[in-house]
């Protein structure tokens, strides 16, 4: 297992007039799981393929444990990669499919046998070992693909490119658990590409949020939730995302549509001059009160959504729909008057889209 270090890594596809991946620095520490999270086309798969050597980056260097591997072919990098759609070798049995990466590296037959059986047990493929792989269902095929990725014990890193896309609901949860299990047992360095934030947040130790070919923030799920570095992260992480509303600074407080809101201590002093400000609060952190709260914005409830376990109540604040997540207690009705309270400790400020701290 290796520490993966990317220095100024960038890529532009032939014929494109924009970088798919802008020059980027990233370090993936040995034995941790990283999720590359972002919307389609944000460059996450490009970044992954550059690590595995499937594409040759147009700029930058890649190091595994300090050794420059930028010029090395995929075969020599000793990485495992699992793709979005199952890739199986049609004419081979499940056993031969799983054994293929080991045999290609000249492992002794006995060792191949032992390792393939281990992985098959682990992925519930024991019963299918003798079957032709093409006869399996899509989900089982993807488990075979995954198995080929996990079967080698000496890989520098395991790279997963949206591996659960074709897997249906229940198996998805199972496989996700399996992946966590592999990780806690073997401690490989894992890079996991996904556009599904709940997948990223449950699988990864650290989440790398990407947008438009750039890394926007690297952090633990908690950090991304509590302290997004950019309004993109604020909006992208969380369901629904963070409430964001334009504001101005006045006497150390934020003014939003005529209301003055308290900020965390010392935050106002850190705000740079002359940049547009945005105030953000997570729907989970905002509160609604049916009785008047002094100084709190007085709002009207415009929408109530019932999600079973919780409600999302929207109120209008300075022409912006402000969402509040209610886990319990009475739920207001549309048209009710409510006072919106925002605990100062949970208020975030963004200057020109970047977090102020």
């Amino acid at each position: 297992m290796a520490r993966i270090e990317l220095k100024g890594l960038g890529h532009r596809y032939a014929g494109a007039d924009e970088d798919a991946l802008r020059p980027t620095d990233l370090v993936c520490e040995h034995g941790e799981t990283y999720a590359l999270l972002g919307p389609s086309g944000c460059g996450k798969t490009t970044l992954l393929n550059a690590i595995s050597g499937l594409i040759e980056p147009t700029s930058g260097r890649i190091r595994f444990d300090g050794i420059d591997v930028t010029e090395r072919a995929t075969r020599e990098r000793n990485v495992a990669q699992v793709f979005q759609f199952p890739i199986i070798y049609d004419t081979m049995s499940v056993f031969d499919n799983l054994a293929f990466p080991l045999r290609n590296r000249g492992l002794a037959a006995a060792a191949v046998e032992r390792r393939v059986r281990e992985i098959a047990v682990f992925l519930d493929l024991e019963a299918d070992l003798a079957r032709r792989a093409r006869r399996l269902s899509a989900g089982a095929k993807q488990r075979v693909s995954l198995g080929r990725g996990l079967v080698r014990e000496d890989v520098a890193a395991i790279l997963l490119d949206e591996p659960l896309t074709v897997v249906d609901g229940q198996s998805k949860g199972n496989l996700r658990r399996k992946l966590r299990e592999v990780h806690s047992k073997l401690r490989p360095t894992v890079v996991y590409v996904t556009h599904d934030q709940s997948e990223a947040l449950t699988v990864a130790d650290r989440v790398v949020v990407m947008n438009a070919g750039r890394i926007v923030q690297v952090g633990t799920p908690r950090e991304l939730f509590e302290n997004p570095a950019h309004t993109f992260v604020a909006r992208f992480i969380g369901n629904p995302g963070m409430n964001l509303v334009a504001c101005e600074l006045e006497d150390g407080r934020a003014r939003v549509g005529g209301w003055h809101l308290d900020l965390p201590a010392g935050l106002a002093a850190a705000v740079p001059n002359g940049q547009p400000l945005t105030l953000g609060v997570r729907p989970e952190r905002a509160r609604l009160s049916r009785t008047e709260v002094r100084g709190a914005p007085r709002t009207k409830v415009t929408r109530v959504e019932d999600f079973g376990r919780h409600h999302i109540v929207s109120v209008r604040l300075a022409e912006v729909l402000f969402k509040v997540k209610l886990d319990d207690g009475p739920v207001p009705a549309i048209g009710d008057t409510s006072w919106l309270t925002l605990p100062p400790a949970n208020v975030r400020l963004f200057a020109a889209e970047h977090a102020v701290s």
């Binding site: 995929t74 890739i87 070798y89 290609n104 269902s137």
Partner: protein, 296 residues
């Protein structure tokens, strides 16, 4: 629920039935007619049963032509398929070079068959032909007009030149249809070039190779024009294949009864061989279809 029946639907099939009857069934029945009778003129004919069939199957010349035909078909298949596949594997994947090479490779397919024969007739001449003269220059005693083996080899070379491009184009198309992801997975799994070919490319090419084998078998088994133009079946009988033997019988000797009987046998041979080939080559796939899908 019962489906509504409308007998008028048969009318829609009628034109096709008529066309097939006039273009295929009636001519074939004429052949059948000739094969079981001895027809001198419409008024003078005798039913002879299996006589013609027994006669031709005992004909030593025809048996010799049959063996020559089998050896020839087997030889061109054994050369053209591996050669075509190898060329397809070496061709560039995309870009102007790929287009250029595809056009160049496909060129022989566009040349009319009798012209192919003429081209090779000139090419193989030892006095003015590039190929023949070159072989002579190398000190070989090559002469396709007088040496049987030389004539046979020249016909094989001509067929390979003419038809390998078909196999190349089929395989090239098949190779381009393999998704890039398979090659990526193979690279990740550390597969060698050979392993990639053996486990990814070859299985994915089974379909086009089946078509290639069938087309090349059928075509080579009924080859007529090119050897007829090049060697006229000689020297001796060395390049007289079945179709030429048949045409000599039917048109040259006007021996219609035997020719008709042999036409039917010829037709059945091709049908049977193609049926067997097809079943052998698609066996794996049909097994898969017959079995139910596995558990999730």
């Amino acid at each position: 629920m019962e489906k509504p029946r409308n007998e008028r639907a048969w009318l829609l099939v009628l034109p096709v039935c008529l066309i097939v009857a006039f273009s295929a069934i009636l001519p074939l029945m004429t052949v059948v007619n000739y094969s079981v009778q001895d027809i001198v003129s419409p008024e003078q004919r005798v039913f002879v049963g299996w006589e013609w069939f027994k006669d031709i199957l005992r004909d030593p010349e025809l048996q010799a032509a049959f063996v020559r035909q089998l050896v020839f078909s087997a030889t061109v298949l054994a050369i053209e398929l591996p050669l075509g596949l190898s060329i397809a594997l070496c061709m560039p994947r995309s870009g102007w070079r790929a287009s250029l090479i595809t056009v160049l490779v496909g060129m022989p397919l566009l040349i009319p068959w009798n012209v192919v024969g003429t081209i090779w007739q000139v090419f193989a001449r030892t006095d003015i032909g590039l190929g023949g003269a070159a072989l002579h220059g190398l000190g070989l005693d090559y002469n396709y007009a007088s040496h049987s083996l030389d004539a046979w080899l020249t016909v094989v070379a001509m067929d390979v030149w003419h038809w390998t491009p078909l196999v190349v184009l089929l395989c090239y198309g098949g190779l381009r249809a393999i998704p890039e992801a398979y090659y990526r997975a193979a690279a990740i799994d550390g597969a060698s070039r050979w392993a990639t070919f053996r486990h990814i490319e070859l299985p994915k090419l089974t379909g086009v190779l089946t078509i290639g084998v069938l087309l090349r078998f059928m075509d080579s088994f009924v080859i007529y024009t090119e050897p007829f133009v090049l060697t006229g079946g000689g020297p001796g009988n060395s390049t007289t294949f079945l179709s030429q033997h048949l045409s000599t019988m039917a048109v040259g000797q006007f021996d219609l009864g035997r020719a008709a009987a042999f036409s039917l046998v010829y037709f059945l041979m091709i049908l049977v061989v193609c049926y067997v080939f097809y079943n052998l080559m698609t066996r794996g796939e049909r097994d898969d279809l017959a079995k139910p899908e596995g558990k999730v």
